[in-house]
Structure formats: C-alpha cells, structure tokens
C-alpha cells in the first residue's frame, strides 16, 4: 500500500489535537486525591459527558478499523452490533438495571455480584474481566498500529509503544474524570471525522446509488445492503443475531461491562446516570452506519486491489487506511485526529476500568484488606501501567490468531457473557436465586461456551446457548438450595428495593 506523506496542515491538526487532549487530561487531574476521585470521578460527572463517554468507550479505534473491514466483507448487517446489540440493551439497562447498581453504591459489577451471590462469584468474574480487558487492549493496540503502519509507514511495535505511553500519561494521573471529559471531545471529533469519510467516499463512488451499483456488480455481495440476512447465512443469520447478539452479547456487554457501567457510577445522581444511557442510545442510532459505510466504500473502490474477503490472503485492517487516502489535505488531519481520539478514548476507558476492578475486587479483598484510600490510588495508577504493558504484549496473539480485530473482540466476549448475563438477570429479578445456583450457572455457562467454541459453533450461537445453559442451571440449583433472607438482599433485587428508588 502506498504510504502517505502528510501535508503540514494535517500534521498541525494532529499535533494540536494530541497536545490539547493531553493538556486537558492533565488539567483535570488537579482534583484527584483519592481512590474515589480516580475510579469514579468523585461522583460529580454530568450526564452529557458520561453519555458521550459511553459511546466512545464502546466505539473507538477497533471499531473504526474492524467495522470497516467487516463492512467490506459483510455489509450493513454489521450495524446490528450497535442497533439491536446496543440501543435495546442500553435502554433496558437504563430503566431496569442501572438504578440497582447505582443505589448499591458499588465500584464494580463483580462487587455487585459478590454482594448478591458470594465472594467466589465476585473473584471469578473479576479475574475473567481483567483477562478480557487485556485482550481488548490488545485489539485496540493492533487497530492503532495497523493504521499507523499502513498509512504512515511507522513500525508496528513502535506504534504500539507510542500509543501506550501517550494514553498511560494522562490516564494514570487524571483518572475517570479526565477519561470522561477527554472522551466528550473525542466523541465529537470521531463523529465529525467519520461523517467526513462517508461524505468524501460517497462522492467518490457517485453517491448512495453509485455505491449500490458498484457493489451489486461484485460477486457474493447480494446481502451487503440488508440489515438482516437469511437464517441460512453462514456468518450472521438473523435468528443468531437476535438471540445471540440482541438477547445475550449486547445486554451482557452494556449491563455487565465494567468499562461501560463505571462511567454511570460517576454521575451525580441516578437520574443523570439514566439520562446518560439514553443519550448514548440516541447517538448509537446513527454511529454504526458511519463506521460500516466506509468499509462498503472500500469494497466499491478497492475490491480488485484487496484479497477476496474470507480468502487465505485476507488480512484485517487494510480497508480503512485505503479509504482515508481519498481524503483531501486538511481533512486527513481531522480523520487522523478522529482515529487518535478513538484509540485514546478506548484505551483510557479500559485501563481505568481494569485498574478499578483489580483494586476493588482483588487487591483489597485478598492482598491488603485495610488498604487506605491513598494506597488504592497509588496501586490503581501502577495497575494502569501494568495493563497497558500486558495489552501491548497480548497484541502479538491478536495479530497472529484472528483475521479481524472485531472478530477477536467478539470471540473474547462470547466465552463468558452468557453466564454473566444469566447471573445478573436471575440475581436481580428473583430473590429465590441462591449463591450456589449462581456458582453452578457461572461454571456451566463458561464450560458450555468453551465446548461450543471447540466444536466450531458461530460465536453468536455460543453466546446464546451458554446463556441458556447458565440460566437453566442457576434456576435448577437455586430450587434445591437455600436462598438468603430478605434483609440480606434488600437493595440488590428488583422486588426488594421499591422503597429505595427515589433519590
């Protein structure tokens, strides 16, 4: 691929953006004096900043690169990851789950599970989430480095290390408050950047109708403009999208993902937490199209230069760098800024949350139970460095084992999301669910997911069936074991918290 020589205008825009974000992050770090400030932004964050932070904690570099790849390969069906896979669960989370998390005053989802079930469940999910976050950091590093390598000719590992250092600097010092406010800026830049890619790309292919005509002329693209594919489709059959993505992966991600939910714990009130979720859902109505359409533009323009999707020669991460080369001077600087925004917002969200998780659910319960708030702050900052290093190292696995970073991300998720959702649902909706039901559901759900993966099942079906196994086991074992009494569960279960709703 031809590498770009950036125009001074582009370079200036990128440098200004980077300096501004770093300066903003450092300025916001002034008030960070305790673990609560670092992990929850002092519980003083406004809903509009949290709402946009939720969007870019989910959508970032891996989505810009990964969804462009998968838009090229599969078309508009990929928008479901943000439509049925996000809008639906985010609204359910906002009105059903979030109030209980918020009122419980917890820092992490495993902390909630620990209170509802027992410490074994809490530790199990804390460890799994920590490992998942390392995997996610790796996918973000790979997305960023692939883009820099293809566009600018930077060495892959240099790109990984440079990204880790820049993000590590302000996340270590600034904590959640810096993360959320810089995410707000990143979200705006990201939206503007992706809109520009779509406008320039569509004008290049002759508009929407031109895009349809060009893609229709390419073999194997008959479903590229369909949001839903037939039930016999090999990759994204609509029943699997509905059951696996809409009912399991999406809800588990938006209700049980520490990196997501932690932002809402930092709001001023339960009302603001709910408003932030609704704002996120509204933005997600349009964002997926802005991320998938560049991949389809790439298909229309570069299908002869790129290997056929799914072939042995296919290598992920090539589509977006080719599409952005269409952009004029000045605009490219904004796009690179948007991409950096996506990298930084994704990375800072995950490292901050991973550090919160380990301090709250592993360090304090097992290593130093009486740790002071200041000690948690120091440990949390060191853990940011540890996670960034671990994620950078794990990028090697992602580039050698997966054809697409988005596939890697979703595969990691499908291993444990079914059992996590089962435990959250059963635990929150029924006081009859017991701690042993939870333990059994957790183990059988993850076991079923692993077995189905080995058997070669589509990850969407893996998520669905592991959920079915986990919730069935949880219910069955709960029926034959003794539940906690009502006082123990007050504020943690739907039927036992009505009096505490009003804030």
């Amino acid at each position: 691929m031809q590498q770009l020589v950036l125009h001074p205008v582009d370079i200036t825009l990128v440098v200004v953006y980077l300096v501004a974000i770093a300066a903003m992050g450092l300025w916001l770090s002034r008030g960070v004096k305790s673990g609560k400030d670092l992990f929850l932004g002092g519980r003083s964050l406004p809903w509009w900043a949290v709402g946009t932070s939720l969007v870019v904690s989910d959508i970032g570099a891996k989505d810009m690169v990964g969804l462009a790849d998968d838009g090229y390969r599969f078309g508009l069906v990929m928008t479901n990851f943000d439509l049925i896979g996000c809008v639906f669960p985010v609204l359910v989370a906002a009105f059903l789950f979030m109030p209980y998390f918020w009122l419980a005053g917890v820092y992490t989802i495993p902390e909630y599970l620990g209170r509802r079930y027992n410490s074994a469940v809490r530790t199990y999910f804390a460890v799994i989430w920590a490992l998942f976050m390392i995997g996610t950091l790796a996918t973000i590093f790979v997305s960023a480095a692939t883009m820099f390598e293809n566009l600018l000719g930077w060495n892959f590992w240099f790109s990984v290390i440079a990204t880790a250092v820049v993000v590590g600097l302000y996340t270590t010092i600034g904590g959640l408050k810096a993360v959320v406010y810089t995410d707000f800026v990143s979200c705006i830049v990201l939206i503007v950047g992706t809109i520009l890619i779509c406008i320039v790309g569509l004008s290049e292919v002759g508009g929407w109708s031109g895009l349809q005509e060009r893609i229709a002329a390419i073999e194997g693209t008959e479903h590229h403009f369909s949001i839903l594919r037939p039930a016999s489709d090999a990759n994204y059959p609509w029943p699997a999208v509905l059951l696996g993505l809409g009912f399991v992966l999406g809800p588990a991600y938006w209700i049980g993902n520490q990196a997501i939910v932690q932002r809402t714990f930092g709001t001023r009130s339960q009302q603001e937490a709910r408003a932030s979720y609704v704002l996120c859902a509204a933005i997600k109505l349009v964002f997926p199209f802005l991320l998938v359409i560049p991949g389809m533009i790439g298909l229309a323009l570069f299908s002869e230069q790129l290997p056929q999707a799914g072939s042995e020669e296919w290598v992920g991460g090539q589509v977006l760098p080719m599409v952005v080369q269409l952009l004029p001077k000045g605009v490219l600087g904004i796009i690179l800024g948007a991409f950096l925004a996506g990298v930084m917002s994704n990375l800072d969200s995950y490292v901050n949350s991973a550090s919160t998780l380990v301090v709250t659910d592993i360090y304090k319960p097992f290593i130093h139970r009486d740790a002071s708030d200041h000690e948690c702050l120091v440990v949390g900052r060191w853990l940011v460095v540890v996670f960034l290093t671990g994620g950078a190292g794990a990028s090697y696995l992602v580039i050698t084992r997966f054809s697409s970073v988005y596939e890697a991300f979703q595969t990691f998720l499908s291993f444990f999301q079914g059992s996590l959702l089962a435990l959250l649902l059963a635990g929150m909706l029924s006081k009859r669910t017991t701690q042993w039901g939870g333990v059994a559901g957790m183990l059988t759900g993850v076991g079923a997911a692993a077995a189905l993966h080995v058997a070669g099942y589509l990850f969407l079906w893996v998520a669905w069936w592991s959920f079915v196994v986990a919730i069935s086991t949880t219910i069955l074992v709960s029926l034959v074991t003794k539940p906690y009494d009502d006082d123990r569960l007050r504020g943690l279960v739907y039927s036992l918290s009505a009096d505490e709703e009003t804030t």
């Binding site: 609204l91 009105f95 949001i227 016999s232 609509w238 709910r274 709703e501 009003t502």
Partner: protein
C-alpha cells in the same frame, strides 16, 4: 467424544427445529423464518415490547422525587422516542 457429538447434534436439531434456521456449522434449512423480511418483524417486535414496558413503568421506578419534570427533561419520553426510531429502522429498511 461420542457423548459430545450427540450433544452437539441435539443442539443443532433444537436450533433448527425452533427457528427453522441453519444448523450452526452446517447446511441450510428452508422455512418461513428463513426470510429476513420475517426476521425484521421479530426485531421490530422486540422494540415494540420495550416501548410498551417503558410506557407502563411506574413513575416511582423512574426515581423522580416529587412531580414529574417537563416532557423534555423526562428520560422516559426520550427512551420511547429512541426505541420508536429504532423500531422504524427495522421495519422500513429493505
């Protein structure tokens, strides 16, 4: 391994039977659910149920301390609006 194969087959049969859908790792199956045009009504139905639930949700569950805020500050209104838009996307998109 035999037991696992049986389990795998039974899962595949259950999926195909319930959904008239593709066997997860194998051949296609025909049925009225095969058509994505049918699928879009299932997707729209999910959002219709969500809207109905949001509309009947007791006000005290929304956490308002005293009176309801004006409509433009009421998160229920915005939630219903977002869900309705999403439902229309699934119904109207070809």
């Amino acid at each position: 391994m035999l037991a696992f194969d049986e389990f795998k087959n039974s899962v595949a049969v259950a999926v195909a039977g319930l959904l008239a859908a593709e066997e997860p790792t194998g051949s296609a199956n025909s049925g009225f659910l095969e058509d994505p045009a049918v699928g879009k009504w299932f997707f729209a139905g999910v959002f219709a149920l969500l809207i109905a639930w949001l509309l009947i949700l007791p006000t005290k569950r929304l956490g308002y301390a005293k009176d309801l805020p004006p409509w433009w500050r009421n998160v229920r209104v915005w939630g219903v609006l977002v869900a309705t838009t999403q439902m229309l996307v699934y119904i109207l998109w070809k």
